[in-house]
Symmetry: C2
Subunit: 310 residues, 2 copies
Amino acid sequence: MKSKAFTAAFAVLLAGCATVDVPPAASAAAPSMSGGERAAPDTMRWLYGSGEAAGASIQAWRQLADYAVSVSRQRKMPESVPLGLPDVEGGIAAPSCVAADGKVKPFAAVFDVDETVLLNTGYEYWQAYSGKPFVAEEWEQWAKGGTGIAAPVPGAVAGLARLREAGITVIFNTNRNSDTAAGTAAAINAAGAGPAVHLENLFLRGDDAMGSRKDGRRATIASKYCVIVLAGDNLGDFADVFNNPDLGIQERRAMVANGDLADLWGAGWFVIPNSAYGAWQKGTIDEVFPPNARWMPSEDGAPAIMNESE
Amino acid sequence: MKSKAFTAAFAVLLAGCATVDVPPAASAAAPSMSGGERAAPDTMRWLYGSGEAAGASIQAWRQLADYAVSVSRQRKMPESVPLGLPDVEGGIAAPSCVAADGKVKPFAAVFDVDETVLLNTGYEYWQAYSGKPFVAEEWEQWAKGGTGIAAPVPGAVAGLARLREAGITVIFNTNRNSDTAAGTAAAINAAGAGPAVHLENLFLRGDDAMGSRKDGRRATIASKYCVIVLAGDNLGDFADVFNNPDLGIQERRAMVANGDLADLWGAGWFVIPNSAYGAWQKGTIDEVFPPNARWMPSEDGAPAIMNESE
């Protein structure tokens, strides 16, 4: 068992931090002898340690599988869910589910990978333990070598099995680099979420010229499939327009919390909650809490300072 | 408009932190003139600022309303969802939906309030701005006076309306203190999530002798209603057994991620994701990441250190 053998080796490494038996690599990298005894960040406690997050992802996976199976059984002309696509006005459109030859395209559900299908506990542990920020080279090592350590997101294995049983093609669209394709496919397969085959049902950053923007890959997928489900932990898994750097915090939230797009949550678009990292990691206190959301206590015990102006 | 008047007064207070016009309460409490310009904690960025969290709560509210409406229409003898109840073996049971007089009890859906129905942006803003930990007296002021500032969780107003239209009674079971009942009901009503009436469909800590344990209140509710939905942001909103202090991090998670209880997520039990605070806020790095979830990079660029033992 690869992961068990590793576990034993790793336990020795950790225990060895206080001794002379530490291999050079580990002693150079480990910041202190008690790194693992420090408090974990709340963002990781919730996602990787809590029953609350496990329940949230199980219910989201149940919801998306229920939805997709139900749509796949409808006796009417299939329609695509709206997708982020390049060169489309507004950045989002629902492409036709009829191919150029007049045939109806097969159904597909399109998933992000990290913190949507796989939990990157190994890499996140290393970030917490080392206290380091994101280091691209370390992430690359993890993406190539994390097979068997990365666990499935709770609910994902059962959900993916239900989709495949219903004849819906499962497609992965990730921003891992395309040179990690073999490791990424191996990690997905080892977690019980496969099969994943590069350029068949696994698309990565570098597969086209659009970098981390996923709209081009979505267009490639939609040219062959009728996409009835999009799922991810970041808004960029749904459309690139949400990654516009000019969007303010509240503006970005309002785009998907109000209006037509809000109706897609739970009905074609599905979020897997990820409190650990993401495109939402920005904003000052004032930006996160707009003026009408602010409050402070009064020191004289009056109900609230706002009552002064009533 | 109460909140607008407050907003203006508050903006003056904030702006005034650098001047002599600051009322004593504010100048004593504000830690610096630029408190709101500091980075918000990621836990709050996700929950209160992100489109991802808005989408996650909208989809969860859709899912629970779909589920409850569907169950309420079934032409069969109604069954309660399993609930945490006092003096029951294992701590969780599904009470009968038939009353002592032989009549079928009316349907109810039971909700926690904070970060399930209401977003406590006002109080959380104050915590972020002041840098203070939880202060019971401040929370009490907020619970009594936050009316009109606390916004509904995205999706909650529409979801609650659908339940009420289907004839399902909406009940709130919160650990706010019972002496905040008037303010809590007012906040729920102002957010569009009401009506909430104390001891009719609003139950608080102090309504019985069980303190913050909700099992007794659940039993009181279940004596009159057939509970088909439980929803909350903490496992204690489902059963008190999850708050056993002897439970390890992984043990608590496994209780709801594996086995029979896991099947309830999205099918009677519904989590509203809350990354900002909760009973899950404990645990070291080692506790959150068990040995088989750990990984570290190797410095020589080999795929991963674990391969040494293959």
